[in-house]
Symmetry: C2
Subunit: 659 residues, 2 copies
């Protein structure tokens, strides 16, 4: 990727970005404040900057006069960087004293996200060796002398070609076998599923289709379901799709759904809702590509224990009562059609095994993907989804727990929360002096709501700028129209109705903040108890891996500022994104890893927190920003002092002159 050097004036702050990057995003990355309210669609026209040198391509038809264009004005949100640039941010675009900008410490904004190369190092067991394989068989036609049955003929050829013995034929395949094999003159492609215990021939197709083979990886979350369509020849992800879990209307969280499942047809309705969600995602992905349904040969799915129970129609009621016992932890390969996924026949699905009622296959899948089961380093894996689940350990031992964080970071229970899809506010800055926001949305569209990373950013920025106090209440005394009393207590307006894509003010309220604080306190308390259990301090952790559907731009320092993560060396923290989906993806491609997941589920110890007094104590202590004991967060303490100072300087120097 070609790099361009972009310098912002008057601050003279320079950075290197990829050619083709959006100019507003580059400014945010350089920590240069530019007022921006419409998310990047060029609608509010606030982010005007002057390109003094270099080239940008610019979206047409936006709010600039001919005169302005001649002078070099562009809207940062609509400008794509094409070369090295010198950019001047005019005063009216900053709406504040440059001093408020220059004092921000240049810390890394984003965490390190694990890349393909990392997986190769972390998972030496990994190889492209999917549980299903296609074999193109060109067989001699039967004669009176060679009169083996059709099935035995296929078995003989599989034995010759691939040394596969004792392949069992699926009955539906046997039923179509004699007609199909003759229609194609005994030139067929057979798909064989290796279930570990046995080999099953699950599908036969005419001619050579051995190059057309795909699989589905799914993360079945309580709130969000994400899926990938994977090319099994190359290992590439061909399409992705995600949506809210259709079960939400039957119950917000796992407990509500378990209760719903005890109604007469409750379990069946929940199963059907999950199946429909998954099936819609598969359809969406297939429609986007030239892959056919019949090229899909298997599925790997990870989800928490309750989700898997509901999907498979297993009664989950004992998950929610002491001593919290699921029906099963390991789930044999099942035909997708048996639970109503109307994919081509012969597609088997594997659900990742779980550890306990509240540490499910989603965690096992993520731990698998993280490679920690394979690592010497003491690792803390945290998945912040609807629940906060985590595992601590290394290749020798693993301890896991779950804390009821709630779905706030997935956008649920937050007034304008949403998933990280088009139009979601994913990055936020608030100027310490003017208290005006700079927002960036997914795909640079007018904002529709706020996703996980945007919520963490917002909370941290509101706190740093003093708009929120330590208890998470909006300070209504501030002199800005963005702070006001709303129906849910105090609120801060991130985007005005005429700038938003919803024609309503997009706000974050006291109630939202309270929900977010409960979530972050639960996660922090979980981490604390897990470390306490093995008598370790946070410093002993050599690597912290963060998974969760926050969106692409979660900033670690912000997560630490609000006390979601402990104050630790940022270099140790890495992102795995959606770990559950990533594990499913890796398992789709490797039967070794499927076996590995079984081993992980069996070796992991579970720590029950719901009856733990230690957990409750830690939780209450964490219900502050960042924590009742600020000494646990030395970095945050320092940044707060700096921010307060900047604000003080800014406010004593109102409208400070340019240079």
């Amino acid at each position: 990727m070609e790099k361009c050097k972009v310098c912002f004036h008057p601050e003279d702050r320079c950075l290197e970005v990829d050619k083709g990057e959006n100019l507003l995003r580059a400014a945010m990355q350089a920590d240069v404040h530019i007022n921006a309210s419409c998310g990047g669609e060029g609608y509010c026209g606030k982010c005007r900057v002057i390109v003094e040198k270099g080239e940008v391509t610019h979206k047409l038809g936006v709010k600039l006069t001919e005169e302005e264009v001649k002078q070099g004005y562009v809207l940062a949100c609509c400008a794509t960087i094409e070369s090295d640039l010198e950019v001047r941010v005019p005063l009216e675009t900053q709406l504040g004293d440059k001093s408020a900008l220059t004092r921000r410490p240049p810390i890394p904004l984003k965490g390190y996200t694990l890349t393909a190369r990392d997986w190769a190092e972390r998972l030496p067991q990994w190889e492209l060796n999917p549980p299903t394989a296609k074999f193109h068989l060109m067989m001699d036609k039967p004669t009176l002398e060679d009169n083996l049955s059709d099935a035995e003929r296929i078995k003989r050829e599989l034995s010759r070609l691939a040394d596969m013995k004792d392949v069992v034929m699926d009955y539906p395949m046997l039923q179509s076998l004699p007609g199909l094999i003759r229609a194609s003159s005994f030139d067929v492609t057979v798909t064989v599923l290796d279930r570990g215990r046995d080999l099953r021939a699950v599908r036969m197709e005419k001619g050579d289709t051995s190059r057309r083979q795909a699989a589905i990886a799914v993360d079945l979350g309580t709130t969000t379901v994400s899926a990938q369509l994977v090319d099994l020849q190359t290992g590439e992800i061909i399409a992705e799709a995600s949506d809210y879990n259709g079960q939400i209307s039957l119950g917000e969280d796992v407990i509500a759904r378990i209760i719903y499942s005890t109604r007469s047809t409750g379990l069946a309705k929940l199963q059907s809702a999950a199946v429909n969600t998954i099936w819609n995602l598969i359809q969406q992905m297939v429609e986007k590509t030239d892959i056919e349904f019949c090229s899909i040969t298997h599925m790997c799915l990870s989800g928490n224990t309750t989700m898997i129970h509901l999907l498979l129609g297993l009664d989950p009621r004992y998950i929610r009562v002491d001593p919290y016992i699921p029906v099963a932890q390991h789930f044999p390969w099942i035909k997708a059609s048996n639970i109503g996924i109307r994919i081509a026949s012969g597609v088997y699905m594997r659900c990742t095994p779980g550890v306990a009622s509240y540490v499910g296959g989603d965690i096992v899948s993520g731990v698998l993907a993280s490679g920690m089961f394979n690592s010497e380093k003491l690792t803390l894996y945290i998945d912040i989804g609807t629940n906060g689940e985590m595992a601590l350990g290394n290749k020798e031992w693993m301890l896991s727990c779950s804390c009821s964080a709630g779905p706030a970071f997935e956008g649920a229970g937050v007034k304008h929360g949403m998933r990280a899809t088009r139009g979601a506010i994913e990055q936020v800055r608030i100027n310490e002096v003017t208290l005006e926001p700079m927002i960036i949305t997914v795909d640079n569209r007018r904002p529709l709501g706020i996703c996980g990373s945007g919520l963490i950013d917002t909370l941290a920025e509101l706190f740093l700028t003093g708009i929120l106090d330590e208890r998470g209440k909006v300070n209504l005394d501030l002199e800005t129209p963005r702070v006001r009393e709303g129906n849910n207590g105090g609120e801060y307006v991130l985007a005005w109705a005429d700038e938003s894509g919803t024609n309503r003010d997009i706000v974050i309220t006291d109630v939202d903040v309270d929900n977010l604080m409960r979530a972050k306190a639960a996660v922090y308390a979980g981490i604390s108890v897990l470390l306490e259990e093995v008598g370790m301090e946070i410093d002993a952790v050599e690597e912290m891996l963060i998974a969760g559907a926050f969106g692409r731009y979660l900033e670690i320092d912000k997560a630490i500022i609000i006390g979601l993560l402990p104050d630790m060396d940022i270099e140790k923290i890495k992102f795995v994104g959606n770990g559950s989906l990533l594990g499913s993806y890796l398992m789709v491609l490797s039967k070794n890893l499927i076996a590995e997941a079984d081993r992980i589920a069996d070796m992991m110890t579970y720590l029950e927190l719901s009856t733990s007094n230690r957990f409750m104590d830690q939780y209450v202590s964490a219900m502050f920003l960042p924590h009742t004991d600020i000494e646990k967060f030395p970095t945050v303490k320092r940044r707060l002092q700096e921010a307060r100072e900047t604000a003080r300087l800014g406010s004593t120097n109102p409208g400070g002159g340019e240079d």
Copy 2:
């Protein structure tokens, strides 16, 4: 069993029989002719004999005057032997010259039927070790410290108790698991199916049901379906049932059914007919006993290749066209409910593997039961069902073939043919002089028709008495009302309308005889070609094992007289009865034998006769009684001469005086 010595006068022919034997049967066994037409129900009153010494119990209310009773008269068919007896057969009861009786050579009438002790010797692999086993598990209830899932708890207990590792849980069982296990306070009985490749937990019941376990053995014949309900604790057959295959109305033989299966819903109808037949038999058996449906834990089923295809819904159309290829030879365990057998959930069924399109699992099952796969002796196994199928070999090698015999010996294609059920004529003698018959029916009821053994008896007796000529035509010139011209050519009346249970004359016609001769010729030709193929003569065969649904009283000498079996040392011939059912029964009880059946199916070579000129030549030669070449049947040649001599003496000495 207590024995009684019974002597018949005036012939002074004595024999030992079991106490409790029927007196008419004892007379037939002693080759003493007693006129009897009503099958043994005391209706015709013809079989009057005088008990001169000893005790019988006698059915009441039959055609005897008080005076006659005082004189010691009884009806032989209604008398049960209670002690040693001296019995006088009055002249009117014989209706013929005693010379006609005394000259009959005293040859063994029945063949030797293999008994339980034989199986023990023949099948050292056999042990009571069924593929399903029940385990009574009394588990600790889960706690926060011991919080394994329900399924893992069961697996742990199975591992502790029975050292069973890696048991897979069937999904339907998982679905009922959590409720049931708690309702019974973790005191349950789990049924585990050993499929060879894996162990599956298929059912769970409350409390200890480990002593209640049964299985179903089935012979799925083209014409007749037979089933047994087997107690898996003792290995005993608790109930038996059989019926015509419900598919008959959709096609008489396998070819007609294969053609029917190619209609739009033909295959589904055939499948459903077979399933209904089996299900009805299961219901009948269960109703007869105190076994419950839910005690049945598995099924073993044997049938010919077409029958198994139809039962499993596999397209059989290529079975009937050159080169005669079935869809499959081996059939994995399948859930009975998957094909519509509405037995309790979790019952798996195993179909015995076949060798080729026309040597199916019924033969493999019979060969298994016969123990020939285990024997040093050169053995010829013949199953005379709707087809004649046979296998020649020993533990080293096996060669098999099939000849289209047709269902005549099962009673189909014969005017008054029937299965060997209540009222079927199963034994027949015809007096050489008077040409009057002596018949015995199953359960001593008025005759309803003729079963296989009765047909062979009838054919042989008609031939020996000259009523039939070598070409199988009824000699209409004979002076007896029993021989007459009917709608289907000549016919012989076995029972008059007023003696029969159908109120119609029971006859055997020229057309019947023709069908029976085609059947016997095909079987004989098959035997000949099989021996020819390996360059052997019939004398090389050390043991001949006969299977088939002839009824209980097939007489080997009669089968040789009509040329169904080659003229060989009768001592070498043994019966296995319904070999296919017997094999199913043995497999129900022993997983070792299930594995053995797989091995037999794989080692057996198949010889295709349908395109063989040698077979056609042999067939044409055998379309005579007993054969065009009488020198191949020296025993029959001698008996014919003796019989003709008896008849000549009888007719020249009409009404010969007593003594």
